[in-house]
Symmetry: C2
Subunit: 338 residues, 2 copies
């Protein structure tokens, strides 16, 4: 039985790459402190900024929202309903988990106001009381645009391949547009280390220098119409965010999207896990050393800033003049308000 | 049964990454042409240069020597006896295979002179007759320096770890020194694609930008006292060099060095083979795309040229003033002629 390094009680997690075992209480504290450190180190956002968290109902995004609220950030949620309910009710369950999480946060917040010695005090010394009453924005794709993601993908790709490309395009569009329209200065996603390095690995295997130049914990709002994007959990192993959700009692959707099974990203994750087993810390150092090399200018010359145009229909930024890829895919003929 | 694309007879190899199946005869021809193309593309050496091939008795280096001779290059061999004969007579057998190869080459060369329709004509249109009578230089480490590689490693590392570092240092030193002293302008090694990408993968996982900046098919003789190093087989899969040795009837040592088993390089090779199985050509594109990115200037700023000094004992180049790492490891107190 591993012992907590801080207090000697039973540990809930042993992080070999950090040579650190912690009990539930000190683990929560550690996650909060590490997240806040990442936010500061990578200059993600300040305490007075309005942050929009993209929530999927999974462990990463719900944990991220939870952590940001406990740290006292003004974090609201955005849930995008994709209409993926076959063969399992993936979208329905994930919205349910997201709503349940929000209710529990609000209930706990009320409780805190009444009794100041709640568990919110324990972990974070910085913020004794959650000051921000969080909002959840829900954009339902089939209701707004008339088709589910699998339907639009089938319609547009003639049954070829997975709907993941159509889904990614739609989510990026909706996240960016809603963030800007509702006045958020920054969009936070729950990507963890395993997510980040799977993409990094894929880009490295093909030496896609343009992508490598732009992969970072922060994508700045370098251009008009693009919201700043940040990944405060980028240094946490997937196991660590899962453990956080567990010790916090956050109920999340366990299943991953049915279309994601067997994809290349999961194959890369399996390979990278073999590496980690062989040398603990390999995944973290792959990421951190990449950020160092990138910071030292390794791919700087490949970071070409493309000129952006406003889509003639929706006014959102796009690389080519005319209609943007979203409006083309969805056959938008007039402005739709999400 | 796969058929040769050139002549329709039974194929001996199917290269999925090239979508190419070939019979023995056309495979030999292909290997010769591909090697010559790599030599030209990467500006390795010209036909009038004297090339020293580092031969270990394995499939890669013996095949490389064979190919260079058939292409009409002035290629001599250098065999370094490491004294590794436990638990198996690795060094003894590898020298034996090297000598046997040389004898067969010379015998075939004599036969060619008598009967001009030998097999040497078939594959290479460029050189009908091998014009160069190859030499083999043998440097026996225990005879020259008094200890085998495992012995010096034990003496210097107090039994810690493997002798691979001591072996690498010794081989690099002897290869460079002998090449220069015997008037060779270029040193060729049998590294194949699998060797190259295992190192590339290792350097990439830790983003060792200095090493990445210098990994290439050619290491130029940029500085006084350093011979140019080239890897003409760097684009061949290990399976391809093995098939070449097989169809040519080259007898090589099958065992790898007993100290190499279970090392990290072999672990990386296993991972990379999983990648290749998932997407054929992944290994080749990992390498070629890296060379492209490197050629486009990724990592250029990390290619720092260190100042070199002459070792005060052996006169060979070294980064720090005083005795070089080789002389220090081997406790050289006066110049030894290998």
């Amino acid at each position: 039985m591993m012992r907590c390094r801080k207090c000697g009680t039973n540990a809930v997690i042993n992080m070999r790459h950090h040579k650190l075992s912690l009990c539930a209480e000190h683990y929560e504290e550690w996650v909060l402190a590490q997240t806040d450190r990442a936010i500061e180190k990578y200059k993600m956002f300040a305490r007075d900024e309005r942050v929009l968290v993209a929530v999927s109902g999974g462990k990463d995004s719900l944990s991220l929202w939870d952590v940001l609220l406990r740290l006292g950030y003004q974090a609201d949620g955005l849930y995008i309903g994709l209409g993926i309910n076959e063969p399992l009710p993936y979208s329905d369950v994930s919205l349910e988990k997201t709503r349940a999480f929000l209710s529990s946060v609000i209930a706990r917040s009320e409780a805190t106001k009444q009794s100041p010695s709640s568990d919110l005090e324990i972990a974070s010394q910085k913020t004794l009381v959650m000051t921000h009453a969080p909002l959840l924005h829900v954009v339902d794709i089939p209701q707004t645009y008339g088709k589910t993601i699998p339907e639009i993908a089938r319609a547009k790709m003639r049954g070829q391949g997975k709907p993941c490309a159509a889904c990614g395009l739609t989510k990026r569009y909706v996240m960016n547009r809603l963030a800007l329209e509702k006045g958020y200065t920054v969009l936070a996603t729950g990507h963890n280390l395993d997510d980040e390095i799977a993409v990094l690995f894929q880009n490295t295997l093909r030496w896609q220098t343009g992508y490598l130049a732009r992969q970072a914990p922060v994508l700045p709002a370098s251009r008009e119409g693009l919201v700043k994007k940040v990944k405060p959990f980028c240094r946490f192993y997937e196991r660590e965010t899962a453990t956080y959700a567990l010790v916090r009692g956050i109920e999340y959707i366990y299943e991953e999207c049915p279309h994601a099974t067997g994809n290349l990203t999961n194959f890369y994750k399996t390979l990278l896990n073999q590496l980690e087993t062989e040398s603990p810390g390999a995944k973290l150092s792959f990421y951190l050393e990449f950020l160092r090399a990138r910071g030292e200018g390794a791919f700087e010359q490949f970071n070409k800033v493309e000129e952006l145009h406003a889509c003639e229909l929706c006014d959102q930024p796009t690389t080519a003049p005319g209609r943007c890829a979203f409006c083309r895919m969805w056959d938008i003929i007039a402005l739709v308000q999400p």
